[in-house]
């Protein structure tokens, strides 16, 4: 799909989706959901006592959705993502990822995780970095190479196979880490502020590329950010979170067309959604000292 070529952007009105209301009308079987969290709480024991990172979180992420978690630092958005990835374990509540527990989902390679830093292994070339999960999962050498070439092409990094990470810019490194997460073709992409460390121009560019990639691969994406424009631009659903304790304040549907371009950010509809996100953040006291 060509992006950047649709002059008229149609935007559907925003529908408020209160989390509590959603929970009531939810069907019992949740096979089609990529993520289904019910009453998830997580308390960390620290030297300063208990910290409640997540308090009674209910969340549904449909297959093929692009869902963003937005909120200030400490609102539990990264923790929630790590719970989905089985990197943290909830103290109470249940959570299903693709219909199974997070642990099983991890073992069955249902998701690829992209961290804030590219975290490429510096002693491996880009191609060997992308092939690393495939090595671990036991793909044969031909398959590894074929997939590596396919996904490096998808993130526009063909020609950089033999470079070491330090020879690439920050944005290119993060693209390589996305190719690495895609290499084993997981149904779900978990992205933890992947572009947070990049400058805004690179970030805009990568946002567009990510949308195109999402459209092409039809993956489910769960995306953590603290940029309102980024969340509104990328998502089909925005989950507004608030700290102390970490909880969900609002879930906003955001139904711009899939082949949206950066220009929609100037439309009144876009601004309206952004305002709603901001008011959600404010009601959660995210702007307080």
């Amino acid at each position: 799909m060509a992006f950047g070529s649709s002059p008229n952007v149609s935007v559907r009105p925003v529908e408020p989706l209160r989390q509590a209301e959603k929970a009531k009308e939810r069907p019992a079987a949740a096979g089609a959901l990529a993520v289904d969290a019910r009453g998830v709480s997580l308390t960390f024991q620290t030297s300063d006592g208990e910290v409640q990172a997540l308090a009674n979180v209910n969340l549904e992420v449909g297959a093929g959705d692009f869902v963003s978690f937005i909120g200030p630092s400490g609102c539990g958005k990264t923790t929630l993502l790590r719970v989905i990835a089985d990197l943290e374990h909830p103290t109470s509540g249940t959570i299903l990822v693709n219909g199974v527990s997070p642990g099983e989902a991890r073992l069955q390679r249902h998701y690829g995780y992209i961290f804030q830093a590219p975290a490429l292994y510096p002693w491996r070339t880009i191609e060997r970095n992308v092939m690393l999960p495939l090595e671990i999962m036991g793909f044969d050498a031909n398959e590894r190479r074929a997939r590596m070439e396919k996904y490096l092409k998808l993130v526009n990094l063909s020609g950089f196979e033999r470079k070491f990470p330090w020879q690439l810019s920050g944005g290119m490194q993060q693209r390589a880490s996305i190719a690495r997460a895609l290499s084993f073709d997981p149904a779900l992409l978990l992205m933890d502020e992947p572009f947070g460390a990049l400058d805004e121009i690179v970030r805009d560019h990568l946002n567009e590329q990510l949308l195109r990639l999402w459209e092409e691969t039809r993956k489910t994406v769960v995306f953590v950010t603290h940029s309102i424009p980024e969340a509104v631009f990328l998502s089909t659903k925005i989950v507004v979170m608030s700290p102390r304790p970490g909880r969900i304040i609002d879930v906003i549907a955001c139904d711009f067309p899939r082949d949206r371009t950066l220009e929609i950010r100037e439309t009144p509809e876009f601004i309206k959604v952004a305002q709603r996100v901001r008011s959600g953040l404010r009601s959660g006291h995210s702007y307080d000292e």
Binding site: L107, Y121, W123
Partner: protein, 304 residues
């Protein structure tokens, strides 16, 4: 014309090899000068006494010449040591016990064997400490304690015990050498194997990697710079260990034996020559490990 401070072209006439080596050359020259001064000052009383005993008149220049040419000086002059080195390296057949190269080889073989044993043991210890949490608490204190015992006290015990079970020569010396050199390798490798950052480890977890995969694909490559840094230290320590191992045995061969006989008979020049050979061996070992380390790290994508 331009009065800017861009005076770079002025220095350009100097060949690069001089600019690069100038600091080393300066330091070496200063050391040589100090060495000669020390030789003159330390040997002067000796030579003066000799002149006075023989009741001959002497000038200052004769006195200085005497200090640089004494047969058993307190501090031998550099050229005396060099001459002794040349004589003892090339004056005798290679397998003669009077040849310094023969002694050097005896010590070097014990050093290398001890280094290999020590390094492997050190790595193995680090790997188990990193993987078994309880070992870190139970083993590490003993590892540290092992280095608090003076090696000079342990060496004779080791030699005697091993001698009693029929082990003589190379192996007991190597074991003392290994005992000394495993320590820096263990300490450094524990740090190196734990050096991957949390994100790199989390990635491995998201891919459900096994402990062996985490080790070979993440921990081990991360520890390589630590490994080479510690091997450099270990190599020089293993040489010290081998020499110390030669002292209590009354060994007939090796640099340690050479030092011992030198001090029995007041052959200071011989002692100094043996020390220089030991220093050359140590420097070569470090240099070799450095080259291998650089090569390895370059292949692993290190910048530069």
């Amino acid at each position: 014309m331009t009065t800017s401070a861009l005076a770079l072209p002025e220095a350009a006439w100097r060949p690069a090899w001089i600019t690069a080596r100038a600091p080393i050359l300066v330091v070496v020259s200063i050391l040589l000068v100090l060495w000669y001064l020390a030789a003159i000052l330390m040997n002067a009383p000796l030579v003066r006494d000799q002149f006075e005993r023989e009741e001959v008149k002497y000038t200052v220049s004769e006195l200085i010449a005497g200090t640089l040419d004494a047969e058993r000086p307190v501090v031998p002059a550099p050229h005396q040591v060099l001459l002794e080195l040349y004589d003892s390296l090339f004056g005798y057949p290679l397998d003669s016990p009077r040849n310094l190269a023969y002694h050097a080889w005896v010590t070097l073989s014990a050093t290398l064997l001890g280094f290999v044993i020590g390094a492997l043991f050190g790595i193995l210890l680090a790997v188990s400490i990193v993987h078994v949490r309880t070992l870190e608490k139970s083993l590490l204190p003993w590892v540290i304690c092992s280095q608090m015992v003076p090696i000079l006290a342990i060496a004779p015990i080791v030699i005697v015990v091993l001698g009693a079970i029929g082990l003589h020569g190379l192996l007991p010396k190597s074991i003392i050498s290994a005992y000394l050199c495993f320590f820096p390798v263990t300490i450094s490798m524990v740090k190196g194997l734990n050096s991957p950052d949390p994100i790199q480890r989390d990635l491995m977890r998201t891919w459900s990697a096994s402990a062996a995969q985490v080790f070979w694909k993440l921990r081990w490559p991360s520890s390589v710079p630590f490994l080479f840094a510690s091997l450099k230290v270990a190599s020089t320590i293993s040489l010290v260990g081998a020499i110390v191992g030669e002292l209590p045995t009354g060994a007939q061969a090796g640099i340690g034996a050479r030092l011992l006989t030198g001090s029995y008979y007041g052959q200071t020049i011989q002692i100094w020559a043996a020390l220089i050979v030991a220093a050359i061996i140590a420097a070569s070992l470090v240099a070799i490990i450095d080259v291998v380390g650089r090569f390895t790290e370059k292949r692993m994508g290190a910048a530069r």
